[in-house]
Symmetry: C2
């Protein structure tokens, strides 16, 4: 099967580029002296997870209970679920431990910690459920401030049967707003310092706090040092996207995922493709890096960039491509590099895998959504 | 089951509101003297299609071959696939006719028309495949200009064995950029006039051109008259969303779909919910109608609006809610009214159906995506 035979729109993954990106980040983790716990929220694929964890400890990060369940079923038992735990998800977490997962969950909330302690106490588990305390390193999303008076109290609440205070976790989401590598390196230091400071406070209060977890793709790429950190959790680096190119995380030539589309209309100033807002997502993040980005840059079927061409508008099933310098015909195929691949990939059931060319070597499914309906 | 027991995030559909909205549009079609061919691209559900077509001809509009196949399997045989046909989809269209669909496809392109004529000629079909010619009424997406010299030539190409020129179709997507009802009514007249003019040209050239199809929710709501039009194809009116409220298509009290979410973090100036960019979509369309809309307005579990509360930021699995005037706790449930429900709903496997309250009366699946992977 070749890309010309794939029903469009569809997701294409270039395996060589994926492997280049995963080697790069493994090297970064090695240089920085930390474990790499890749975040699978972007790829949501066991095949990609195997490549991303090659030569690593095997631990992964996930963003939904559905991902945790899927990756456990595919042999990944060391899992951090890195979104603040909803009380209604406590039973899901305990069931994952019962089924063999070495699972860490996340909270910063005394009521959730108390509910966790109560539910875990009445559970029968092969080993404790790990709990990480979320720290806010400046992003302003979730987490306690590193110097919050409630930090040690929270740790005490988690000192309960069938629970283990695993450590602290923070995420420098505000690195995405940076305008330079130096600025990102500054945020990376803020991220490191916040996590290490909180961990030290917990240790001084008598808690073990083994895990000191940081990470985003920009900070993992540009951090100068991560002293005191035990692991990092970047995710989007595996594929990259136009926003990450704009942030300096990787060059355009390493973007590994694109959306395959067919031309369905040809006009003097534009062509229409059958990849619109659903197939590309309406995420406009990369537009801040340039005016001619729209909903993605456009390549030919072979994956060569068509200079000047971009998806200027995205309706539900229509993409309007402008800036093309060549004449196209209906049925011609294009590939769109997405703004934000985490959003784009989630609309698709999986990847058509190529290796530099147009031959489809494999289909790798994804675990999308939160609940599978029969 | 009640909404408190539903795993979050999830899509909630209020059946009474849906029925109010479908009755409203049926009444509009009746007043305007046109058939209603509801566009199922928003709802993607056979149960919703049954309600939307109650008392109508039964014809529907779809946006993907996957929808066409699904609705045919659920008893809807009169189907217009209203996205320009990709040449690789011609065989899908012929197969649908073979399997019993009275299918219309859409093109404005001579090469696609020629390929259709060639493929259809060698097919064995129970009845012809209908073809609509797409007309551009000012939107600048797809379609021939109504006075395009190529219009009658295209109709002649489609005068071929196993094909039937069904008529013309246009879509006033530019009605979404309007700032007033009068302006929308003006676009509706432009939409009507363009389609009727093109149809008249075809009739003068000896083509039957039975179908004169227009429609978007804003123009269907505000058109003064549709003389010469045979049908309209609105879709999002069934549910409505904040963008449609801003456009004046319906009042806030009639929005039928919301995203159920759980509180996962509580802070002095915000709460975090487990519905982020994937569960809500990153569509920012309604933000142009007001500053405090973000990625959606927030209701309580019962569906009562919480004045001032909105999703200020949406990361992949996190929504940041600001403007709340009440104290919430982790596990509390909220419902988010989306900006653009076509995009939001597509992330979910289906609807938890309620009828004004919190009791779940049914689960209705959706046909998402373009291809089902096993």
């Amino acid at each position: 099967m070749e890309l010309n035979d794939v029903p469009t729109p569809a997701l294409v993954l270039d395996r060589s580029r994926l492997e280049t990106n995963t080697r790069f980040m493994a090297q970064r983790a090695s240089e920085l002296g930390v474990q790499l716990r890749p975040h699978m929220k972007t790829a949501k694929s066991a095949e990609v997870a195997r490549i991303a964890t090659a030569g690593q400890s095997g631990g992964i990060t996930v963003s939904t209970p559905a991902e945790a369940r899927y990756f456990l079923a595919h042999g990944f038992s060391d899992i951090t679920y890195a979104v603040g735990l909803a009380p209604a998800r406590i039973d899901d977490a305990l069931a994952l431990v019962r089924d063999g997962a070495n699972l860490n969950v996340l909270t910063d909330n005394p009521a959730v910690a108390a509910a966790l302690a109560a539910r875990a106490a009445s559970a029968t588990l092969p080993h404790p459920l790990g709990v990480l305390i979320e720290i806010d390193c400046g992003d302003g999303r979730g987490g306690l401030q590193p110097d919050a008076p409630g930090l040690t109290k929270l740790a005490e609440t988690l000192n309960a049967p069938n629970l283990q205070l695993a450590g602290v976790l923070t995420h420098a989401g505000h690195s995405y707003a940076c305008r330079s590598r130096d600025e990102i390196a500054g945020i990376a230091e803020q991220e490191r310092a916040a996590a290490v400071f909180a961990a030290e406070r917990l240790r001084q209060a008598g808690h073990a706090c083994e895990t000191v977890s940081v990470g985003s793709t920009p900070t993992a790429t540009h951090a100068h040092e991560l002293d005191g950190v035990s692991e990092m959790r970047p995710g989007v680096y595996m594929f990259g996207d136009l926003d990450q190119v704009g942030l300096g995380s990787l060059p355009l030539e390493r973007l590994a995922v694109s959306v395959l589309a067919s031309v369905i209309g040809v006009y003097p100033d534009r062509v229409l493709i059958d990849a619109g807002g659903l197939a590309l997502s309406k995420d406009a993040s990369a537009q801040r890096h340039g005016t001619d980005i729209g909903y993605g840059l456009v390549m030919n079927l072979q994956g060569e960039l068509l200079p000047g061409a971009y998806v200027a508008k995205a309706n539900q099933e229509h993409g309007i491509v402008r800036g093309l310098r060549q004449q196209l015909a209906p049925g011609d195929r294009l590939r769109v590099l997405p703004n934000h691949v985490c959003m784009t990939a989630a609309a698709h059931p999986g990847y058509y895998v190529v290796d530099g060319g147009v031959e489809v070597q494999a289909r790798w499914p994804r675990i999308n959504g939160w609940e599978q309906w029969s």
